[in-house]
Every structure is written in C-alpha cells, then in structure tokens.
C-alpha cells in the first residue's frame, strides 16, 4: 500500500490513518483537489458487512467536493454498489460516519430501471410528481429534460421500444428530474456498446457542465474513469477501502500520450490490487 514515487503519473496512496486528502497536496494539479471546495459528501471510517460475513467495506475515507465529478473505480464485487447505496441512503453502514446532503441524492442504476408501463415522458413525469411538482409544470419540465438528453422525439415511446442507450438517457433525464445537487451513478453505461458509450460520455460531461451537479460515477472500467472523472478513487477488494486516487486534468482527455500514461498507471495499480487476492 506504499506510494509509488517512481510512477510517471503521480498517484496518491491513502494511508489508513491519514485524512484522505491530506496527501493530495503533492499532486501536480492541486487546483482540482477536493478540500478547496465545500464538501458535498464526507465518508469517515465507513464500514459495511452483510450479516456475519467478512466486511465488504472497511475504513472507507473520502471527501467529495461540491460540483466535483468523481469516478469511483474498483474490480467487480469490491463493494462499489454497496458504497453508493450507503451514500444514497438505501443501505445503512455497519460502522463509521457519513455526511450527505440532507435532501438525499439522485440515483441512476446500471440497468435503466424505467417503469415499463409508462412512456419515457411518463417516467420523467413520475419523478417530478413524487417530488411534488404540479401537473401543469410537470409536462413542460419533463420535455425540457428529455430535450436535454436529445430524446424529445421519443417522449411518447415505451421503454421497450427504445434502445439500451436511449433508455439510459431517459434514466439520466429521470435522475435529473429529481433535482438533487448530488447524482450517484452505478455503472450506468456498462451494458452499452462502445460507440454508444463514447457518445454518452460526451453527453454526460456536457450535462454535468450545464447543470453543475456533483457526480459520483461508479465504474470498473479504467478508461471510462479517466475519460469522465476529475478525480479517480480506487477502491480495493475485500475489504473495500479507498487505496489510491489520481487527479485527471483536461489534458488527460485530449492528449493521447498523457491519457495513455495515466490509464496505464491506474490499470497497473488496479491489477496489483486484484493480484493480491490470487
């Protein structure tokens, strides 16, 4: 778990005792570091075990700043969804403390989880309705949100008539309809084909910039994490804890050399984590 100073890309190993972001100051792009913003989510020594089994999460420490886009990376089964569910309030942590916005978070699931008995617009409208938006406003607001994800034409289609990518965009529109400053996304694009996924990355980035949401994006895909996150947090497996983090600058998304370097460094570290369990 030692830091690797010889690595080409600076990686901040998070020691188990230190406050997670104390080490970030060594990073070359400190302007992006979380502590400079107001915190939206704070996780302190968070632990979770199901029943009497081995702990799934242990001592998870992280701070996510307001308006930040954080990619939460980890191998399958390491507890990413569990952590996200805890942040969303769908599950209780077994130990530790967490600070989340009092009005909860919007959530986007891996499968779109749209209700099959109503149209795309109906799904978005239902989210608005459960939030207490009046009938007249619901319709226009739902159409605006569908317009935002470029799906205004498909508003009256049922979910089963839409492609996987379109369903995920409706699901995104529904999550935005919740109008919470914090958006949690659990591998939302994992089941999509590569072209569609690239498109949705672009779309999500645009929407993030337009709406100023705080986004926690869970993925097991290093390239996706680097493409989207301002910061990448690596979660170890069994037990899951935040073991490393990287800052991602705009250059990492446009310069092939830099992007490859960072992707390589993160991949190496992730593989190291997985190999420990061989």
């Amino acid at each position: 778990m030692a830091a690797t100073p010889e690595a080409a890309v600076s990686e901040t190993a998070v020691s188990e005792t230190a406050v997670p972001h104390a080490a970030v100051s060594t990073d070359p792009a400190p302007s992006l570091a979380a502590p400079r913003r107001e915190a939206a989510v704070v996780l302190e020594n968070l632990g979770k075990r199901f029943g009497s089994g081995a702990p799934v999460l242990e001592d998870v420490n992280a701070t996510i700043g307001q308006g930040e886009f954080v990619a939460l990376l980890g191998a399958s089964g390491c507890g990413k969804s569990t952590l996200l569910n805890i942040i969303a309030g769908l599950e209780e942590p077994s130990s530790g403390a967490l600070e989340v916005p009092s009005d909860g978070a919007a959530f986007m699931f891996q499968d779109s989880a749209l209700f099959p008995w109503i149209s795309a617009r109906g799904n978005v409208e239902l989210a608005l309705k459960l939030r207490g938006v009046g009938r007249a406003e619901r319709r226009t607001r739902a159409m605006e949100l569908l317009e935002l994800v470029h799906l205004a034409e498909a508003a009256d289609k049922r979910p089963h008539e839409l492609s996987g990518g379109m369903r995920q965009r409706v699901s995104l529109a529904r999550a935005l309809a919740q109008d919470r400053p914090l958006l949690l996304m659990d591998e939302p694009f994992a089941a999509l084909d590569a072209i569609t996924r690239d498109l949705l990355h672009d779309e999500l980035e645009r929407i993030w910039k337009e709406t100023g949401r705080t986004i926690v994006f869970v993925t097991h895909n290093v390239r996706e994490a680097v493409r989207l996150g301002q910061r990448v947090l690596l979660l170890s497996s069994r037990p899951g804890r935040v073991v490393a983090q990287w800052e991602v600058s705009e250059e990492h998304r446009t310069n092939a050399g830099k992007a490859g370097e960072l992707t390589g460094a993160i991949t190496t570290r992730l593989r190291e984590e997985i190999r420990r369990h061989a």
Partner: protein
C-alpha cells in the same frame, strides 16, 4: 481487466458530429414495426376448429354406436336450442346467470382488491392469513352449497355466497402473486424518487402488479362462473330464478339429453365469449404495452 493500456478514450469530434452520430444511432436502434390492423386468423382459426369438432361429432353420431336419445348429435342439439329459444328459456337462463355472475364478480373484485393489497404489503397479515386463503382456493366452492342452503334458503343469497367463496380467494392470490413478482429494482427506484408508503403502493406496486392482478381476476371470474353453475344445479326452486344451471337440471329431470347438451354448450359459450371479448383484449393490451408479447403465441 479487459482494457488495453495503449488505447485511452479521447475526446474527438465537434458537438455537431456527436449530435448527428447520436441521432443516427437512435434511428438505427429504434423499433420500426408498424401496428397492423385486425388479424383475421384470430377469428377464422377458432371458427374452423369449432366446425371440425362439430363435423366429427356429427359423423360419430351418424355411425350409430349409441342411441340418439343418449348421445344426441349437433343437429339434435341445434334443434333443441331453437325450441328453447322460441320458448324464451335460453334468453331467460343466460340473462339470469350472467347477471348473477357479473354482480358476484364485481362484489368479489371490491372485496378482494383491498384484501389482496393489504396481505401483500403487510407481512404479519400475510403470514397469518396467507395459508388460509391458499387453502380456500383449493376447496371446491360447491362444498359451501349445503351450508349456504341452510343459511340462506333457496334464494339468490345462496348463489352469491357460493360465488364469492369461489372467486375471492383466487383473486386475492392473483394479486399477491403479482406483487411478489415485482422486480425489487422498482421499489428501490421508488425509494430513490422519494415515494411515500401510499405513493409506493398506488404509483408503483399496483401498476407493476397489474398483469398478475388481471390474471387473478380472470381466474376469479372462471371460478365464480363455475361455482354459480354448481349452485344453480343444486339449488332449484324457492325464489331462485331460472339460470343456466337450472336449465341443465331441468333437462336431467326430463331425461332430455338434447336440453342437457344445449345447457352445457350455452355455459361453455358464455365462458368463451367473456374470455374473448373482455379478458383477452385487456391482457393483450397490458402485455403489449410492456413489451412482453413479442415472440409469444398470443
């Protein structure tokens, strides 16, 4: 990890390029099948099947293995039906039974719906009454006829009691099964969207359970129709009106096989027509709206 280190994702292309690419993908991946009009095979195939059976029946009877007064042919039955129609007893029997069946069905729906939702949503009640409801579904409701006659006498009350005892348990069970089969994801979405308990039940659980609920209603109708016939056959006289079951029993007392067969066919036809005109369209609409019909034989 499958990703290759050498191929990171880069941003490329202008927003316009992306917009066009997206629109192209959307149109490529959307279903284009148009809705078609009336499918005549739905009407013609059952009719053809019916004709085949009629012909086979007539041929069998014509071969003369059995006496005609014991096994009448379709022509005899049609003759008897038209006589009964002329007397007005067909109309009277169908109307009486259908009316009773409908009223019994509606009362059953009104009782079974809240009961089923309550049992499905409240664990304690479910544990306590679930086995009883399932047991009642197994008990043939004819078993209630003697008790009902002693309690209500030869009145409509007897018929309704037996119908309710037949229909309510299967409707309740249908609704519970429908609720049980809701993907857990839907409730989680409801929770994330901030639905209250009541909103969850009405906006998410009930619509999600609708296919199972309708299947339960359909079975409930079948059970109440059967129970009604049984009750009418056994309970003759008093203030009981003249229903299809009574017609059947009349045929038996007169030893008129053609009347017996006419009554059986009428009971069957009412069942088929209610299925074809009421339940089949509702179910089909419901399933098609959820994309559950493609590839099925419906």
């Amino acid at each position: 990890m499958p990703e290759t280190v050498t191929a990171p994702v880069l941003k490329q292309g202008s927003p316009d390029d992306f917009r066009q690419l997206e629109a192209g993908l959307d149109s490529l991946q959307s279903e284009t099948t148009a809705k078609h009009g009336v499918d005549w095979t739905r009407v013609l195939l059952p009719l053809a099947a019916f004709l085949v059976i009629l012909v086979a029946w007539q041929v069998y009877v014509s071969l003369g293995f059995r006496r005609r007064d014991i096994v009448p042919g379709p022509l005899d039955v049609i003759g008897s039906l038209s006589t009964l129609w002329g007397e007005g007893s067909v109309q009277q029997a169908v109307w009486t039974s259908l009316q009773r069946g409908l009223v019994g069905f509606l009362i059953s729906v009104a009782v079974a719906t809240p009961l089923g939702l309550l049992l499905a949503q409240v664990k304690l009640l479910r544990r306590a009454f679930g086995p009883l409801i399932s047991g009642l579904q197994v008990l043939p409701s004819v078993a209630w006829v003697p008790a009902a006659i002693l309690w209500f006498g030869l009145t409509d009350g007897t018929a309704y009691f037996v119908v309710l005892m037949g229909a309510i348990p299967s409707m309740v069970n249908g609704l519970i099964a429908g609720v049980d089969q809701i993907p857990p994801q839907y409730r989680r979405v409801g929770q994330v969207l901030g639905a209250s308990r009541l909103e969850m039940a009405l906006q998410i659980v009930l619509p999600a359970a609708l296919p199972g609920y309708v299947a339960g209603l359909k079975q409930g109708w079948a059970f109440s129709w059967r129970s009604l016939m049984a009750a009418e056959i056994i309970t003759v006289g008093g203030t009981m009106g003249f229903g299809l079951g009574s017609l059947l029993d009349q045929g038996r007392t007169l030893s008129d096989m053609s009347v017996v067969f006419s009554a059986i066919l009428l009971i069957l036809f009412v069942g088929i027509i209610v299925e074809l005109l009421v339940f089949a369209p509702i179910e089909k609409r419901l399933l098609r709206g959820r994309g559950l019909l493609s590839g099925s034989t419906r």
